[in-house]
């Protein structure tokens, strides 16, 4: 059984009386345990709606979303699903609920009614996992963007999820913060947590094990980063290539052999090989 399974999922937003916006259309795909999926597409392509469908914040208008076989449409499953699917949102300031870092991390486990001593342990290990142990007693307002997002990830980790969804969690960060967050996420993925990273940053997409591109609410491309970057549909999806891939393509137009690279190091390797 796949960990995440969507079959023929559609979702309509009610806009005003009788009018609705079809944000997601007839979407079917599945994700296995431990995958690192980058979800890309233009603004308005349905990525964020899809994210909210994955943990029952939205329930499909038609079709089914199942997490570990649990149907998100069944209200009895809601909290079990949210426990398993943690979500980190774009704006760190709109998801921290407490003023002090450790109180914020404890919020999820407290809601689940976990026993006090175990909350303390979970908070400690979650903060450790994101490298924020030293800030446990700090005021969240004074942290940098990257630190705030790491605290948000810790808040999700304290609920011991099996899947983490990042909904443009790095969009508002500077390069340093972005790197901090992505390093943490990669580590968590190595420990077996499934990651779904919604992003506009194509370098981030290159580092996923699988890239899914949405276009106008439909699945447009789905494959390994190198396949996606080679796809003719990329332009239509409003996506650009990561700089190193676009340089590789340029070089192959100017005398180099075709390069199959997805990132900087691959590019350097390939250039060295061909110039030797």
């Amino acid at each position: 059984m796949p960990q995440i399974e969507l079959s023929q999922v559609s979702y309509n937003y009610p806009v005003r009386d009788g009018v609705s916006l079809k944000a997601v259309k007839n979407l079917s795909f599945s994700v296995e345990r431990g995958e690192f999926v980058a979800l890309v597409g233009m603004n308005g392509s349905g990525k964020s709606t899809l994210a909210k469908l994955l943990n029952g914040l939205f329930v499909p208008t038609s079709g089914t979303v199942k997490i570990d076989g649990l149907d998100t449409s069944d209200e009895a499953n809601t909290f079990e699903i949210r426990k398993r699917v943690g979500m980190v949102f774009q704006n760190p300031d709109n998801q921290n609920v407490a003023t002090i870092v450790e109180d914020d991390v404890a919020f999820g486990p407290e809601n689940l009614g976990i026993e006090r001593q175990r909350i303390i342990e979970r908070v400690r290990s979650a903060l450790e996992a994101v490298g924020m142990s030293d800030y446990a007693k700090h005021s969240a307002a004074k942290l940098s963007g990257g630190q705030k997002q790491r605290v948000a990830i810790a808040g999700v980790l304290a609920m011991q999820p099996e899947i983490i969804i990042l909904d443009e969690a790095t969009a508002m960060l500077d390069p340093v913060g972005r790197r901090e967050v992505m390093d943490v996420v990669r580590k968590l993925n190595e420990q077996g947590i499934t990651v779904i990273n919604i992003t506009h940053n194509m370098d981030e997409a290159a580092r996923a094990s699988r890239v899914i591109a949405l276009r106008r609410g439909r699945l447009a491309i789905d494959g390994a980063p190198e396949d996606v970057f080679a796809s003719d549909l990329l332009d239509a999806c409003g996506l650009t290539l990561p700089p190193s891939v676009s340089l590789a393509n340029e070089l192959s137009r100017r005398g180099f052999d075709k390069m199959n690279v997805i990132d900087e190091d691959g590019l350097v390797e390939e250039i060295c090989k061909q110039l030797r």
Binding site: G41, N43, S144, D174, H200, S246, E250, R254, C272, L275
Partner: protein
């Protein structure tokens, strides 16, 4: 005449409290009319504080020592404050969050109205501003700014600033949060704004790739001090400085460094992908010629 002349500028937040924090430390900077200056620096390096001084949103703290003259106006002078605000157009981060009127037209007209221009002139400016940012007047003027897409909202917000026809345009992270297509559009737009509306442009950005591409000059800040100031090639040539300031190198420079470390003789001073491609094509051509 210099467009901007900053002398000995320091700034301390919460002065005289335990939270005292030095944001700017003896900044000296002059910008000539017609320059496109990229201001770079890690978060908290003082970039925002610096640019907010340019139109008097933040006042010079130590007037005895420091001074800022913009387009001939002393920013500390109350008399010219309003004129200063219209001389320096300021596009803040996520400018779409400042939209407030019920139509695009009214929102863009807000600045010119505050300038107390005549109705005809206001209308002409609104039309021109929308045209420059690539939004059709007849299609967009009567629409609500809140019904537009993210990229369109941002362009309306930018139009709202350039409708004042500022001589100096300051943009703080103008492409933040946009999708790749939106980023490219706004970056193209900046060149156009400089040619057609505001001859002097200052951009605050975290993207060294973008800066290498479009800036004439880069000013790097670290802990409130200017640590590097020069052409992108000069600044990115000072690798240790860039690193110490908590900044990245442009992708092309980084790749070139890695290639050099591996023995590929590319020039060390490439800063854009186009240059790097030229370099590599040249090397490839030379190698092919050798082989023949």
């Amino acid at each position: 005449m210099q467009a901007i002349e900053i002398k000995n500028l320091s700034f301390i937040y919460s002065k005289g409290t335990p939270f005292e924090q030095k944001a700017l430390d003896d900044i000296n900077l002059s910008v000539a009319e017609g320059e496109l200056v990229g201001v770079v620096g890690a978060t908290g390096s003082g970039k925002s504080t610096l640019i907010q001084h340019l139109n008097g949103l933040i006042r010079v703290q130590d007037k005895k020592r420091a001074s800022i003259v913009v387009d001939g106006m002393d920013t500390s002078s109350k008399k010219t404050l309003r004129k200063l605000r219209f001389t320096v157009g300021m596009v803040f981060q996520y400018p779409e969050y400042q939209l407030f009127a019920d139509t695009v037209e009214k929102d863009v007209a807000f600045g010119p109205k505050n300038m107390k221009l005549g109705a005809e002139e206001i209308n002409a400016r609104v039309r021109r501003a929308l045209d420059v940012v690539g939004l059709d007047y007849d299609t967009f003027a009567t629409r609500s700014p809140f019904d537009l897409s993210g990229g369109e909202k941002r362009r309306v917000a930018i139009a709202g600033v350039i409708a004042m026809q500022p001589r100096i345009l300051v943009l703080d992270e103008p492409v933040a949060g946009l999708d790749p297509a939106g980023r490219a559009e706004i970056l193209d737009l900046i060149g156009k704004l400089k040619r057609e509306v505001s001859p002097t442009v200052i951009i605050v950005s975290h993207s060294m790739d973008d800066m290498a591409q479009i800036a004439d000059r880069i000013v790097a800040l670290s802990h409130g001090k200017i640590v590097a100031d020069g052409s992108p090639r000069e600044v990115f040539g000072k690798r240790e400085l860039v690193e110490a300031a908590g900044l990245e190198l442009p992708t092309a420079t980084r790749v070139a460094d890695k290639l050099i470390a591996r023995g590929v003789p590319v020039k060390p001073d490439v800063i854009t992908m186009a240059e790097l491609a030229d370099e590599l094509a040249r090397l490839k051509g030379a190698k092919e010629a050798d082989n023949v």
